[in-house]
């Protein structure tokens, strides 16, 4: 398929159909992979010799933290695309991604606190990575608040795009904060250049969970995108929405209709 053939999915009507077709697959695959990852992580992976069983929170914590950053980057990308190219669907995509990203940021902080209590002996420390993840949550909240503060949703989209672009500076800071500052939060155990320093079943479980949650985030985003498309298109009274209405039986079947 050529690239310009893909571009037809930039219209809300086609994107709505495509998202509807992808949704069940993403949900099913995401559930399957997450379940498999949790089985590997809780059933097969060995106990950590320093942290004991409590390390197993990483199967949720690490994917959530990854996603919180990746979704912010994706959201900023879509928002800026919508701002620069003036494509309606891009801004809708950014709007659909924001709540999911905020939830994963919250989840990363929450699971981190649950892990920190048995391991560090405290729910929260003001170290670089925790603080910058918290700022990421604030940035998501600012993005969401700004989008909804305008009467005209398109204006809200563009304003939020400017904010997302300014906030993007924060993402590399979060990612590199563990290397830049000597803090309580440990460094990364997995890296592209030097490979992994954790046991193979742990890594497998982690990757399965990450992939599963990734698909889940995609499914939730598309679900929200479909609602946003309907909402926006209804506001401008788009014709194609007529096709989505349930077909009423035609002809002289008035009484039957009245009964149902």
């Amino acid at each position: 398929m050529k690239f310009h053939a893909l571009l037809r999915y930039a219209t809300p009507a086609h994107a709505y159909t495509l998202a509807g077709r992808l949704l069940p697959w993403l949900f099913a695959l995401g559930l399957l992979l997450t379940a498999a990852g949790l089985y590997v992580g809780f059933g097969l992976a060995p106990t950590d010799h320093q942290q004991g069983e409590s390390y197993r929170i990483i199967y949720l914590h690490v994917p959530a933290a990854w996603l919180s950053m990746v979704i912010y980057l994706a959201m900023a990308l879509w928002a800026v695309l919508g701002w620069v190219l003036n494509t309606r669907l891009s801004s809708m995509m950014a709007r659909a991604l924001a709540p999911t990203g905020a939830l994963f940021t919250f989840l990363a902080l929450w699971t981190g606190a649950l892990w920190g209590k048995p391991t560090w002996g405290t729910w929260w420390v003001w170290d670089a990575r925790l603080t910058s993840e918290l700022i990421l949550l604030f940035l998501y909240i600012g993005f969401l608040a700004l989008q909804d503060a305008f009467e005209d949703p398109r204006q809200g989209d563009r304003a939020a795009a400017v904010l997302a672009l300014v906030g993007v500076v924060n993402v590399p800071i979060i990612y590199l904060s563990v290397q830049w500052w000597s803090t309580l939060h440990q460094g990364a155990s997995i890296s592209v250049s030097s490979g992994s320093s954790i046991a193979a079943p742990m890594l497998l479980g982690l990757l399965l969970c990450a992939l599963g949650l990734w698909l889940h985030a995609g499914a939730i985003t598309l679900l929200r995108l479909r609602s946003i498309i309907i909402e926006r298109e209804q506001a401008r009274q788009a014709r194609w929405l007529e096709r989505l209405r349930p077909q009423r039986p035609k002809g002289p079947q008035g009484p039957q209709e009245a009964r149902t």
Partner: protein, 222 residues
């Protein structure tokens, strides 16, 4: 280009001078917020000395945030902003003049008040010097980043709280390096690295923030 910059700057300064009471209100807000902390925390001298840089920095952050509403709102209401946008000069350049004027009104008075307030907290002389220097480098960043948020919140419902929600997360690095400079000086590490990071943030934001606020103004005012 320079004459337009100076004209906008002159106009802003004149407007600020004609509304002198606003400036005094803002300065007194700063003084009052700082004075609340000893009342809340008790008069323990050692504790107050340790907290002074953070308290003064947070108070400066709040004062500047409160003053951001004025930056574009009046010009937006009376149509001046539209005239500025119609100008053939780059809007970011005109915005930079407004930001500079804002700093002279809202940032510089706080820097000048700081030594007096720091004495009340019992900071030693050299620490006061570092604190004033950190505020001198840091408060222009507050005006620069604040201009982006003030432009974005223009024409929204309930702008004041929104500006604070947008801008305070962006202020965090400035706060960390600014207040950290005094702490590093006190612990013998030297304030140099913190102040240099702060200067780096100032350099970066003085290039990018006028451009971003000009873009935000165009988005909001269409």
């Amino acid at each position: 280009m320079r004459s337009v910059f100076l004209a906008v700057l002159h106009r802003e300064l004149l407007l600020g001078w004609r509304r002198r009471s606003d400036l005094f209100t803002l300065a007194f807000f700063f003084v009052m917020v700082v004075s609340l902390f000893p009342l809340a925390l008790g008069p323990d001298a050692a504790q107050l000395r340790a907290m002074a840089p953070g308290v003064l920095w947070v108070a400066a952050l709040l004062s500047v945030t409160l003053s951001l509403g004025r930056l574009f709102a009046n010009d937006h209401a009376d149509g001046t902003l539209e005239q500025l946008m119609l100008s053939p000069e780059p809007l970011s350049w005109l915005v930079l003049a407004k930001i500079l004027a804002h700093w002279l009104h809202a940032g510089l008075p706080l820097v000048l008040l700081t030594p007096l307030l720091a004495l009340q907290f019992g900071l030693p002389g050299d620490a006061i010097g570092v604190l004033v220097l950190s505020l001198l480098i840091g408060t222009p960043v507050l005006s620069l980043l604040g201009a982006v948020a003030a432009a974005l919140a223009l024409g929204t419902r309930g702008g004041g709280v929104l500006v604070a929600v947008l801008v305070l997360p962006l202020y965090v690095p400035v706060l960390i390096f600014g207040a950290g400079a005094v702490g590093a000086h006190g612990s013998g590490l030297g304030a140099g690295p913190h102040l240099k990071m702060l200067a780096g943030v100032l350099a970066l934001s003085s290039v990018l923030a006028p451009w971003a606020s000009a873009a935000a103004l165009r988005v909001v005012a269409e």
